[in-house]
Every structure is written in structure tokens, then in C-alpha cells.
């Protein structure tokens, strides 16, 4: 089957806007080059607010790259070039006068491997609020820390040892600590790059519950290798293959009647 990708994209975009709510973030014809590697080719993608969008696709296809376009973390690498347009609430984040630091406060990120700072649990959470001056007083700060840990479902496990090092927690707890750390900055969007790939099934289950719960307050984009996880947590799924957007639509449709042959193959585990 040979489908013109731009046509498919148009349909996807229409499907989103048909619901009447303008998308939270929009990527239009985004191209990313890492030196000579053309990692993303003309990707256009709408992210709806207060939904979980899953990015799936074979390894090396560019899922992380898509994710990093939304907080401009791709720029951390040498010789990266990004073209096209990415907007959040209609504001072009690659515009000249954009403050990257302020952008990253609006768009938080959780990484594949838990990466708590080698500081106390309290300081890990308080790090962002301190930098952004979110708390006037010590009480405010303590409140933010408690609220973030509550939200990340970690409060009961750590409330008696906030002074302990964040690195002393279990992997699953560390990942929830990182989520709490991201929440503490009060972002609008949370990007998650395979947040469960280093975790056991029980810890994974907890994080998935947490994601489900967080959807009420945040827009979430999650990269995952697990089809089941995408099916469980997301409302929309984007299938990326070889740097291109293969298919994008509501998760249910994607998993029950994929439109493209390649998507189907990948979902059935025949490719990737």
C-alpha cells in the first residue's frame, strides 16, 4: 500500500481540529539533522492538551528526537540543525526572541534512566522552584515539595527521610522522584522518554497509574517501546518510522485498525 504521507498528515490534523479544541503543541514540517544524519524528515504532529500522546516506532527511528524538539534539548548536541515550526499555545518556540530557559520551565522532561541529583530528596524537588523563584518563603517551598511528592505518589514512602540522598532510593522511586522534580516547576507539558524502560513491572505499573492521574493537570508526551504501555496509557499514538511520521491517530483506532501496512506490521511485532 502506498499512501502519500502528506495526505495522511492532513487527515490527522483535521481529525484533531475536528474536536474543536486547538492543539496544545503543533509541529509543522520539522526537519532535524545531526551533522550528516537526517534524523527527522518533515514531521508534522499536533499534541492535544490534557491528553497522553504516545510515540512508538522501531529503535533509532527518531522518537527521542521528536520529543526533544518540544523543549529544544536537541540543541545540546554539536552540529544539530532544526528547521520547520514548533509552537506551544500558538507561540513559535524556535523564534529568535524565545528564552530557552523559560521554555523548559513550561515543558518539563523525564529521562529514560532515573537521574536524580546527588542531593537530598528535598533538594532534588526544591531545585527547580528555587531556580525559578517559585517560592517566597521556606514554608512555600516545603509546600511545593510536599505537593509535588504527593502528586507523584511518593510522599508516603519518603516523607520521613527527605534529608536522605535521592540516589539512595530504588530505581522506581528515583523515577517518580524525577517526575516529582519535573512537576515541581509547574510545567504545562511533561515529556517522558521511555520512563519505564529501566524499571521492573511493579514500578512500571505505578508509573503508568501516575501518568493516567497526571493527565488531569498536564499534557503528556511519552516515548515507549511497549505496545501494551502505549495502549494502556495514551489517548493518541504516533507511529514513527525512519524519521518520518508513519501514522497518527487515536490509540484505539491505531491498535484495532491501523491504516498503514507498516504500522500494522510493527504493532503485530513483525517489524522493528
Amino acid at each position: 500500500m502506498n499512501v502519500d504521507p502528506s495526505n495522511a498528515l492532513m487527515r490527522d490534523a483535521e481529525a484533531a481540529s475536528a474536536e474543536g479544541i486547538p492543539p496544545k503543541m503543533v509541529a509543522r514540517s520539522v526537519n532535524v539533522h545531526y551533522g550528516a544524519t537526517h534524523a527527522l524528515k518533515d514531521v508534522s504532529l499536533d499534541i492535544q492538551g490534557y491528553e497522553v500522546t504516545a510515540l512508538i516506532g522501531p529503535s533509532g527511528c527518531g522518537k527521542s528526537t521528536v520529543l526533544r524538539c518540544f523543549n529544544r534539548m536537541n540543541e545540546m548536541f554539536e552540529n544539530t540543525q532544526t528547521s520547520g515550526q514548533v509552537t506551544i499555545d500558538g507561540m513559535d518556540i524556535y523564534a529568535r526572541d524565545i528564552d530557552v530557559v523559560a521554555l523548559r520551565a513550561r515543558v518539563g522532561m523525564v529521562f529514560q534512566r532515573p537521574n536524580p541529583f546527588p542531593k537530598s530528596i528535598f533538594d532534588n524537588i526544591a531545585y527547580g522552584p528555587r531556580i525559578h523563584g517559585l517560592a517566597e518563603t521556606k514554608e512555600d517551598l516545603e509546600q511545593i515539595v510536599e505537593a509535588s511528592l504527593q502528586r507523584a505518589g511518593l510522599w508516603d514512602e519518603v516523607k520521613d527521610r527527605l534529608k536522605q540522598s535521592g540516589t539512595a532510593l530504588s530505581d522506581g522511586q528515583q523515577q517518580r522522584l524525577c517526575i516529582a522534580r519535573a512537576i515541581a516547576v509547574q510545567p504545562e507539558v511533561i515529556l517522558m522518554d521511555e520512563p519505564c524502560s529501566a524499571l521492573d513491572p511493579i514500578a512500571t505499573g505505578k508509573i503508568e497509574e501516575l501518568i493516567e492521574e497526571l493527565r488531569t493537570g498536564f499534557t503528556i508526551v511519552i516515548v515507549t517501546h511497549s505496545m501494551q504501555q502505549a495502549a494502556r496509557v495514551s489517548q493518541r499514538t504516533a507511529f514513527i518510522s525512519r524519521g518520518e511520521l508513519g501514522e497518527y491517530g487515536p490509540t484505539v483506532e491505531m491498535f484495532t485498525k491501523p491504516r498503514h501496512e507498516r504500522t500494522k506490521d510493527y504493532i503485530m511485532g513483525r517489524y522493528g
Binding site: N71, M73, M76, E78, N79, V101, A102, L103, R104, A105, R106, G108, M109, F111, R113, N115, P116, F117, P118, K119, Y127, G128, I131, H132, T167, C178, R181, A182, V185
Partner: protein, 459 residues
């Protein structure tokens, strides 16, 4: 024939055995219709190495021991002559004979000496011939023995492997032995020094060593208080580190976090160029430029700056160690997992905030170890302080005064007319030992910090 000829002969013999052995194993595999355990070249190496061992031993004996062997033989022959000489006469006789042989006789040689010299020359030839003959015979017989061993089931590869491991071990043992030798010789001379100088005497501030001939006049061996020397050393180190650490650290932060790839590629080697400048040039720089400059500044401010000051020496030494400090700090910063850095940046902190709040704390063990290693370098540095700091042993904390250091006094004690058993010379070994212990402790501490930093970084 010289030792190098013997060595070449050994190489030729080994090469022949290499070819023989390779030929033999090929023939044997054909004959027995069985594949050999190892590749043919390993059998070749096996025979070659075995044949080379006796030659190598022979060369070693020739180079290191033949003079001693010949001398022992000579002394045996001249036993009756030496019996008639007074105590110590034998050593003097031999010394005179050797200088006669070198063509620089101390005075017109007595007939005894000339005869002994002739006898020595006569003894050399049979000794050398024996060495050559024994090692060649040994090489041939070991080589043929190796050829007898060679058959397809023989695992030559394993033997070669074991030989290589043995050689590697030998080399590292040699390095350790050399270090131990240096430490032991320091230790022995230090112990001898303490026969003349009591340990309590060290804890005073007067450093006035006196040469043997001066001591002979009035029996005064001098004063050996090391406090002022060590205070001078540490004062200069302190000055150097307090200048080099901030600069080196900032350079490291800039290079590792801010500089673009191309800037880094250009400026890092340039910085490391500083490390290649001979320290005597730095010393010269200190005398000609920095010293007078500091004096002029001091003049403006109404401060009394000595022409040779701890400040001048420390400042120049700081320039010398900046590349060292910055490269060690760079390593420490780069060892911090990039996940931490990205985590911080993704929370919306600037690079500066990331460096200050995340990278520096995580790199602290590495940075402390960099400081300690740099300090031990400044402590051991000699040329710059010799030229720029002065010779007067002053116990002072004033960096503008002239001070002297342990290393400078070591140089003072062992240059010029030296008798190797005067207290003054021995005191140099004693200072060397103290210095060695000080820097050793610092380095050990620094390395343990570094290791802790690295294991920390892997979390």
C-alpha cells in the same frame, strides 16, 4: 667483539630457530596428518625465544658484571701484594690502576700498578670469551631442545602467552624495584643524617648547614631546623594554588560547558603548551618580569616588596600549573554523568546554574584531588623557587617577603664542593625524604578522593 655484536648474533640464531621450528611443525603436521594445536608461527616464536634467553643473560652479565668478575679474579691473583698494603690501600691501589688504564694517571705509576693493569687486560679476554662461548652454546642447545619439543599436540601458543605475561610482569617489577631503590637510598642516608642531627633539632626555625671543612675548624655542625623551609614551601604553594585554582577551574568550566567544539579544539592544546615550557624559563620570567613588576606595584601602594618574594615565585608557579589544574578539573567535570547535566537543563536552569548547583558539587571529589595533586607539584618544584624566591630561611606568612623552600635548600646542599659524608650533604637526603613523605601522603589522599569521585560518578 662487543656486547652489541653478541646481541646481533643472538638475533640471528633466534631467527634461524624461528625458521627451523616453523618448517619442522609444517613437516610434522603433514607427516602425522594431524592439525597442529597452534599456528606455525607460534612454534617459531617458541624456539626463537628459548634460544634467545642464554644470549640475553650473557649480554647482561657482560655489561653489568664482567668488570666486577675481572676485578675479583685480579684481587685473587694479587692477594699477597694487597696483604702487605696498609688498611684502605687496596681501594686506593685499584683506583690508581683504573685511572692509569683510562690514560689519566694521578701520578707516575709505580711498576706494581703498571703490572697489575697489564694483568687486568690479560684477564679480560678469557672472561669475555667464556661469556660468549657459554651463551652461544646455551642458545644452540636450548634451541635444539625446543625443536625436539615441537610436535602438533604441543600448545606453543599457550607457552608464548605465558612468556609474554612473564615479560610484562618483569617490566613492572623493574619499575617497582627502581622506585624502591630510590626510596631505600633516601632512607639510608636519612638515617645516617640523624646520627648527627637529633630529631628535636628539626623543629626549630634556624637552618644553617655547615660544610665538613668548616665543621672541622670549630666542631660546629650547623643548625638544621626545617620549620622555616617548610613554611616557605607551603607559603609559595598557597600563593600558587590560590591563583591557579580559580583560574584553572573557570577555564575548565568554560572549556567543558560553554566552548564550542572548534574553540575547544584550538584552545586546549594551546593551554597545554604552557605545560611544555621548561621551568627554568618560568624562573627567568619571574626574575626579569614578575619580581620587578611586583616591586613597582608595591612601591605605588607603599608596601615593602622584596626583590625575590614568595609572591613572585608563587605567581609564576601558578601560571605553570594552570593547565594542569584546568585539565584535571576538566576531567572531573566531564566525569559527571551527562544525565545529571541534562536533567538540570531540562528543568529550565541555565548552564551557569547547572554548573554551580549540580556539576561542581558532583565533581567536588575530583576537583579536590586536582588541588592536592597540584599542591604536591608546587611543593616539589625547584627551578622557579630557586630563581625567584630567595635563599634566606624566613619563618613568615608574608608573601611579599623573601623565603626559601625545601627544594632550594636541597640544591644548595648538594651543589658546589660536595663531600658525601658531611652533615650538610646528608641533610639534603633528609630533606628529600621529608618532602617525599609529604607529597606521597598528598598524592595518596588525592587518588583516594579521585577514586571515590569516579565511583560516585557511575551512579
Amino acid at each position: 667483539m662487543t656486547p652489541s655484536h653478541l646481541l646481533s648474533l643472538g638475533v640471528i640464531i633466534s631467527a634461524c630457530f624461528f625458521l627451523f621450528a616453523r618448517f619442522r611443525i609444517r613437516a610434522a603436521t603433514l607427516q602425522e596428518q594431524a592439525p597442529s594445536t597452534s599456528l606455525p608461527r607460534f612454534y617459531g616464536w617458541y624456539a626463537a625465544v628459548l634460544a634467545f634467553v642464554p644470549i640475553f643473560l650473557g649480554v647482561c652479565i657482560w655489561v653489568f658484571a664482567s668488570t666486577t668478575i675481572v676485578e675479583i679474579l685480579l684481587v685473587n691473583r694479587l692477594d699477597s701484594l694487597f696483604a702487605s698494603l696498609p688498611e684502605g690501600g687496596r681501594d686506593r691501589f685499584l683506583a690508581e690502576m683504573y685511572s692509569f688504564l683510562d690514560g689519566q694517571p694521578l701520578r707516575t705509576p709505580s711498576p706494581d700498578i703498571a703490572a697489575a693493569a697489564n694483568m687486568l687486560i690479560g684477564l679480560r679476554t678469557p672472561v669475555v670469551t667464556t661469556i660468549i662461548a657459554l651463551s652461544t652454546v646455551g642458545a644452540l642447545s636450548l634451541g635444539f631442545l625446543a625443536l625436539r619439543f615441537i610436535e602438533p599436540r604441543f600448545n606453543a601458543h599457550a607457552h608464548i602467552d605465558r612468556t609474554v605475561v612473564f615479560l610484562l610482569l618483569l617490566c613492572s617489577i623493574l619499575a617497582i624495584i627502581a622506585t624502591l631503590g630510590i626510596i631505600l637510598s633516601l632512607l639510608f642516608e636519612t638515617v645516617r643524617c640523624f646520627e648527627f642531627v637529633s630529631i628535636c633539632q628539626l623543629f626549630s626555625t634556624d637552618w644553617l648547614p655547615r660544610a665538613g671543612n668548616q665543621t672541622a675548624l670549630d666542631g660546629d655542625a650547623g643548625k638544621y631546623g626545617v620549620l622555616a623551609l617548610f613554611s616557605g614551601t607551603f607559603l609559595i604553594s598557597f600563593v600558587a594554588i590560590s591563583i591557579a585554582l580559580p583560574i584553572g577551574l573557570l577555564v575548565a568550566v568554560y572549556l567543558s560547558q560553554y566552548a564550542s567544539h572548534s574553540t575547544r579544539r584550538i584552545s586546549k592544546p594551546m593551554l597545554e603548551l604552557l605545560a611544555g615550557i621548561p621551568t627554568v624559563v618560568y624562573g627567568f620570567f619571574a626574575i626579569v618580569l614578575v619580581g620587578p613588576f611586583l616591586q613597582r606595584i608595591g612601591g605605588f601602594l607603599g608596601l615593602d616588596v622584596a626583590p625575590q618574594s614568595a609572591m613572585a615565585a608563587g605567581a609564576v608557579m601558578a601560571i605553570m600549573i594552570i593547565p594542569y589544574v584546568s585539565s584535571l578539573c576538566d576531567d572531573a567535570l566531564s566525569a559527571v554523568p551527562s544525565a545529571l547535566r541534562n536533567g538540570s537543563l531540562a528543568l529550565g536552569s541555565t548552564t551557569a546554574e547547572t554548573v554551580l548547583n549540580v556539576l561542581l558539587p558532583a565533581a567536588l571529589p575530583g576537583i579536590s584531588s586536582a588541588v592536592l595533586l597540584a599542591v604536591s607539584r608546587t611543593i616539589g618544584e625547584t627551578m622557579i623557587v630557586l630563581m625567584a624566591a630567595g635563599l634566606a630561611a624566613n619563618l613568615t606568612l608574608n608573601p611579599l617577603a623573601s623565603v626559601t623552600t625545601v627544594t632550594v635548600q636541597i640544591v644548595q646542599s648538594v651543589t658546589g664542593d660536595v663531600e658525601f659524608d658531611s652533615v650538610k650533604t646528608l641533610s639534603a637526603f633528609m630533606l628529600g625524604m621529608l618532602l617525599f613523605v609529604t607529597t606521597l601522603m598528598m598524592n595518596v589522599f588525592a587518588f583516594s578522593l579521585r577514586r571515590r569521585g569516579i565511583s560516585h560518578g557511575e551512579v
